[in-house]
């Protein structure tokens, strides 16, 4: 009776009401595997474009009131006997140039660079230096934070839901985190300290999304009042749960994507990599919650139940 009432929730006017997410699970799995493989290859071939936060050296942001030319910036630094690398012009008015110098400048050199650049371009530049040790520590710290957060999340989901859901939720979030890394590697976007915050935000967000869907799965299993065992039975529950939460998932990602897109367009240059990472991660997060986490959980759950059943049969025979 409850289940019948539940069925009446179906809003037949939605285009995805007949979409069978479970039917295409292998397609999703293949897509994600290919993406992960692509990421691994990309990491070996293109590596990561590590900003000075993770390597070492000096970074100077030159700003001017007019559009800035790379050659002019280059000349200015060569006049001071530095060899600037990878000059990049950015800003809505093309008035910011970012330059890297491979050596760590000391404070006297920094003071000299600042006053020279200010004389020449009119605005005091930003100067950052990092020693190799700090860069390594930062990267280690970030990875450690990711692992620690994952463990806590698995434990929490384990307590509130079940272990397999915790596991798949974390697999999905690692999938998202790795996808951000892949995009940054493929397009050679500079990875800075805020990148770690962005990845961790996505971890929090992606898990949020997955949990909402799992929450509905949990509820629908309770309502069905059946002992589910076959993949077909689980598929029905998973499909129903995804459909029921899809409007929410889409609306939520839209409300979070909106500010991110606006930050990307109008926001400050200094958080650009941060917003790019968020943008990529948010989209990947919705995809993985719906198309990876739930179907993967159903597959693993059925496999686990089958194994237990076999074990029991063997025991009763003996």
């Amino acid at each position: 009776m409850e289940m019948n009432e539940k069925m009446n929730y179906k809003h037949y006017n939605k285009f995805y009401d007949h979409f069978d997410f479970m039917k295409y699970r292998n397609v999703f799995f293949v897509i994600s595997s290919v993406l992960i493989l692509l990421g691994i290859i990309s990491l070996f071939v293109f590596k990561l474009n590590l900003g000075i936060d993770f390597s070492s050296g000096t970074r100077v942001d030159v700003q001017s009131k007019q559009p800035i030319s790379i050659t002019k910036v280059d000349q200015a630094f060569r006049a001071m006997n530095y060899s600037p690398e990878r000059p990049v012009v950015s800003g809505t008015h093309k008035n910011i140039a970012t330059v890297r110098i491979n050596e760590e400048l000391n404070q006297h050199q920094i003071a000299a660079v600042k006053s020279k650049i200010k004389d020449q371009f009119g605005i005091e530049p930003n100067v950052s230096t990092v020693s190799p040790q700090v860069g390594r520590d930062l990267a280690k710290n970030g990875l450690f934070a990711l692992i620690l957060a994952s463990i806590f999340i698995i434990i929490y989901v384990w307590i509130r839901f079940e272990f397999l859901q915790g596991l798949t939720a974390v697999l999905a979030l690692i999938h998202d985190a790795f996808f951000i890394v892949t995009v940054f590697s493929l397009f050679h976007i500079e990875v800075d300290i805020l990148f770690i915050s962005a990845v961790l935000t996505i971890v929090g967000y992606s898990i949020n999304d997955t949990i909402v869907t799992f929450d509905r799965v949990r509820e629908n299993i309770k309502l069905s009042r059946k002992r589910l065992s076959t993949i077909e039975e689980f598929s029905e529950i998973v499909n129903l749960s995804i459909r029921e939460t899809l409007t929410r998932s889409i609306n939520t990602v839209l409300t979070v994507l909106l500010p991110v897109i606006l930050l990307l367009i109008f926001g400050s240059e200094s958080i650009r990599t941060f917003t790019i990472a968020l943008f990529v991660g948010l989209i990947c997060g919705v995809y993985s919650s719906i198309c990876i986490a739930c179907p993967l959980w159903a597959v693993l759950k059925v496999r686990y139940l089958d194994k237990r059943k076999k074990k029991r049969t063997v025991q009763t025979e003996a």
């Binding site: 009432e5 009446n8 929730y9 700003q63 000391n106 404070q107 920094i110 003071a111 600042k114 006053s115 200010k118 605005i123 005091e124 930003n126 100067v127 950052s128 230096t129 990092v130 020693s131 700090v134 930062l138 710290n141 450690f144 934070a145 957060a149 806590f152 999340i153 929490y156 300290i193 805020l194 770690i196 915050s197 961790l200 935000t201 929090g204 967000y205 949020n208 949990i211 909402v212 929450d215 509905r216 509820e219 029921e244 409007t247 929410r248 609306n251 939520t252 839209l254 409300t255 979070v256 909106l258 500010p259 606006l262 930050l263 109008f266 926001g267 400050s268 240059e269 200094s270 958080i271």
Partner: protein, 432 residues
């Protein structure tokens, strides 16, 4: 029949909240501490190393070093310095809005390590032999400024001067400030702008604890030296391992751009909610205003420093706060579609949405808490904002929205008007 009581309460509540927020806005805005990425200024991370072989760096040494830096910054007169110990052996100094950055940086990095060395650069005495806080500016017979110091142990000074006197004709006691490895008296002695402060000759053993340094100072140089020595010759060696400085213009531009983007984002989200959830969206928008005021209030109350990532976290937090509204409103819509009355749909929807929102927010809080504990500097600012956002979401988007919408529902004004919550009549069970 529409009951007037709840509607009256609804508007009364709105007016009271509006007044409170109206009065709170100004003090909040004026008390926000801006980080150096928004205000300009600089930040240096020092690796702390022992001054002498065998010196242990424990938490006492570190807090002494921080105290010394603090005193020095007070001499500088920077308004909102932020000094913190990291990883046990590092000190991060942030000076937002510092006006004369070059001078500040020079003063800060001058570890004021006063050393007395012999002509072969062997260390004889150093800052740890001085009585703290006893440096003074005085004048010699020629009426030129000099700095006087007091030593802790006259016997040690006696033995040092005896040794130096015996080196005749190389009987100079060379006084160095921030001697670095590779500096050499022999190389510097001929130069006009030598690195050491002075090199008085010592004729005989001196049985005193008073020392005078006269090094052709101007009055200002003598005062600076005195201030540095009194504010504490640092008990440790500090090497710069990370530094970042942001031009004031850069900071202002970043802040303007990000706040502009944020305002647009808030407007866009509000319109989106109104469009999709009608009256429910309006309630969500109202709680969103309350949410922003509380988040900023708590943030300012905690004396946290607002950084660019912090603003980004707040904008993201708005998206997540709205998510709680969306989950609840979607549930209420579901219940309405199943044919329930507005009142029971409202009750059932809230009841069913609560665990979802709690689970979803708690997992994000876990991630934010890990960031807060492990993160440094800018990342920490981000984590604080994310944590506050998530906690406040419980208050406004769950309880605030429930209270406000509840008053309207209980007034029965919404009965038979499910479209006010974004549900079409033909979608309701039994109305096909």
């Amino acid at each position: 029949m529409v009951k007037k009581g709840p509607i009256f309460s609804f508007f009364a509540l709105l007016i009271v909240l509006g007044i409170i927020i109206g009065f709170a806005v100004n003090p909040i805005i004026h008390n926000v501490k801006l980080g150096l990425d928004l205000k300009g200024g600089f930040e240096v991370l020092y690796q702390v190393k022992p001054l002498k072989a065998g010196q242990k760096i424990d938490s006492d040494t570190m807090s002494n070093a921080v105290a010394a830096i603090n005193k020095r910054i007070n001499v500088l007169g920077v308004s909102e310095p932020n000094i913190s110990i990291e990883n046990g052996h590092r000190i991060r100094v942030q000076l937002p809005g510092v006006k004369n950055e070059k001078r500040a940086r020079q003063l800060l990095s001058t570890t004021a390590k006063l050393e007395f060395r012999d002509y072969k650069d062997r260390l004889m005495l150093d800052g740890s032999d001085l009585k703290p806080g006893k440096a003074k500016v005085a004048f010699d017979q020629m009426n030129k400024p000099m700095v006087t110091l007091q030593l802790k142990d006259p016997a040690k000074f006696a033995s040092v001067t005896k040794k130096i006197a015996s080196y005749y004709p190389n009987n100079q006691l060379v006084i160095w400030m921030d001697y670095k490895k590779g500096d050499s008296y022999q190389k510097e002695v001929g130069k006009k702008n030598h690195k050491y402060i002075s090199n008085p000759g010592v004729e005989q053993q001196l049985n005193t604890s008073d020392v005078q340094i006269s090094g052709n100072f101007t009055m200002q140089e003598a005062t600076t030296l005195k201030d540095l020595l009194n504010s504490g010759s640092l008990p440790v060696r500090m090497n710069e391992i990370y530094s970042t400085s942001v031009g004031a213009q850069f900071g202002q531009d970043s802040m303007k751009e990000t706040i502009y983007a944020g305002a647009l984002a808030v407007a866009a989200i509000m319109l989106f909610m109104l469009f999709f959830y009608r009256l429910g969206g309006l309630i969500a928008d109202l709680t969103l205003v309350l949410y922003m005021a509380i988040v900023m209030g708590v943030f300012v109350g905690l004396q946290a420093v607002l950084t660019l990532p912090g603003i980004a976290a707040m904008i993201l937090g708005i998206g997540m706060a709205v998510d709680a509204n969306i989950i609840t409103l979607e549930r209420i819509k579901d219940e309405l579609r199943s044919g329930k009355s507005v009142l029971s749909a409202f009750k059932a929807g809230n009841h069913r949405a609560l665990p979802t929102v709690v689970d979803a927010n708690l997992t994000t809080i876990i991630a934010a808490a890990v960031l807060f504990v492990l993160g440094v500097s800018a990342v920490k600012g981000f984590a604080v904002m994310l944590l506050i956002s998530n906690v406040v979401t419980f208050l406004t988007s769950i309880y605030g929205a429930r209270l406000l919408l509840g008053l309207l529902v209980h007034s029965r004004a919404l009965n038979n008007h499910p479209w006010l919550l974004g549900v079409k009549r033909r979608d309701i069970r039994g109305n096909e």
